[in-house]
């Protein structure tokens, strides 16, 4: 198993955002975490990669790096694309001085090629479209060859065609790196095109677990409401 989450609880301002949830992600598997906005999806990712401290439970991850692709890319706007991608290789204590400038350049070119963006090394993030920024952040994430990649709403704010392209790259990166992935999303297309399995969160709890096909067929009020995007059902948006 790449990631094992047991009885995880996270409390913000006396409110349980995650309430005793447990799930596993197998090696090479892509798990989608779905649910309405504010259901704690991004919190799960931030707990796994160590940006937040858990209140209760345990998170066991396999050896190797965990990379994260942020919702709005989070590229370093003072660095160009090449420096963004090679950032970890230049600045991380265990990787600094490991590569020569020539090798770094080759790695950047190779990673940019993987996300279909060759030739933009010297551009700055502000000169790129949202979809291109997202793909550069993919390249930055895989530069250390992580064993686990976390995607936080990878298609948020993108047009349908860019979203499809991003979904294709999620699948392609999974095949190239054989990394386990967790994709936080609320878009049906991202779930069906990228995930092997999914969990649905509501009110801090897992209300459904299964494959995308099982979710589409399931006769539970939660999955029905989510699939049909209905306002009627057990899940109420917090206004």
């Amino acid at each position: 198993m790449s990631i094992i989450v047991n009885n995880l609880t996270k409390i913000f301002d006396e409110k349980k955002v995650l309430d005793d949830i447990s799930f596993k992600v197998a090696d090479g598997e892509t798990l989608a975490v779905v649910g309405f906005s504010g259901s704690g999806k991004s919190t799960v990712l931030k707990l796994i990669c160590g940006l937040l401290e858990k209140d209760e439970g345990e998170i066991i991850t396999s050896e190797g790096d965990i990379a994260m692709v942020f919702q709005y890319s989070a590229l370093f706007d003072s660095l160009d694309v090449a420096d963004n991608i090679s950032f970890a290789l230049r600045e991380r204590r265990d990787l600094r001085n490991k590569y020569t400038e020539k090798e770094l350049k080759e790695i950047v070119t190779q990673k940019l090629g993987l996300v279909g963006l060759s030739g933009i090394e010297r551009k700055f993030p502000s000169e790129l479209s949202g979809g291109m920024q997202k793909r550069v952040s993919f390249a930055r994430a895989i530069v250390t060859e992580p064993k686990t990649i976390l995607y936080d709403e990878p298609t948020a704010g993108l047009d349908p065609i860019s979203s499809t392209l991003i979904e294709d790259y999620i699948v392609r990166l999974q095949q190239e790196t054989n990394a386990s992935s967790i994709v936080v999303t609320h878009q049906m297309s991202t779930i069906t095109r990228t995930a092997n399995r999914l969990i649905m969160l509501y009110n801090g709890k897992i209300v459904f677990e299964g494959t995308p096909e099982e979710m589409l067929r399931a006769d539970t009020p939660y999955t029905k409401q989510f699939v049909t995007a209905s306002l009627e059902g057990p899940m109420q948006m917090i206004s």
Binding site: A74, D77, E91, R92, R140, T144
Partner: protein, 269 residues
Amino acid sequence: MITFKQYLRQSATCKIFNAFYKQFVDFVSTLGAIVANGFTTLKYICLGHIDRKELMDQCVRFGISSLPITLSIVGMTSIIVTSQVASEMVKQGGGNFVGLLVSILIVREVGAVMSGFAIISMIGSSLASELATMRVTEQIDAITVLKVNPIRYLFVPRVLSGIIMMPILVIIASAFGVLTGAVTTAMTTELGYRAYFDSAWLGIYMKDLGVCLLKSVAFGGTIALVSCSCGYEASGGAKGVGLATNKAVVWSLVAIVIWDLIFSITFFF
């Protein structure tokens, strides 16, 4: 059973106390963050974990970009003080001491303090807003996830550039202040440059220069540290960036006045 915090939130009669409580908590957490980040930065500096390229970039930013405004502020303060004092001193028969008074004032106080104010407005606010923007756009989270220590990457070159460049700026600004004092004296009184500089040298002791340099090191490091820390701890969106910048400016101003008081009590009481 409600907690003390819940009681403060619910009770209408305790609104004023609640506001003070929030201010106190904010004060303690800001101070704690500055101290903690300061120790971590110091640790990395002592261990020599310094990115030389980034340090050079920050030194250029700290020194070169802020030089015009620093010279303007110190120069104008010198003109204001000298124009009011020089003619009066000449009238009272103390013309030979105009240079001495202006040089003491500039070297001991005006040079460092006014440069500090200039640096806070030019560099401190920009450091705070830069780091706060990085925080709210998740760039600092990205640095952490990539297993690079954000304090080492962001704080060390900025704080070190403050420590290195502030004394250089203060020396240039103080020399400029003494010179503008000379020009002002020559323009507003019958005293010549010779008389001004003869007395000006008498007012400058090695101890004054040493204290001035020490003070500028403390000011530079403190402004950079406080500004970085306020930006680093920012939260929320655009409002959070604004609040962090505002906090950085206020805390830096208060910090350099406290430093100035400590130096005055220690060396000139």
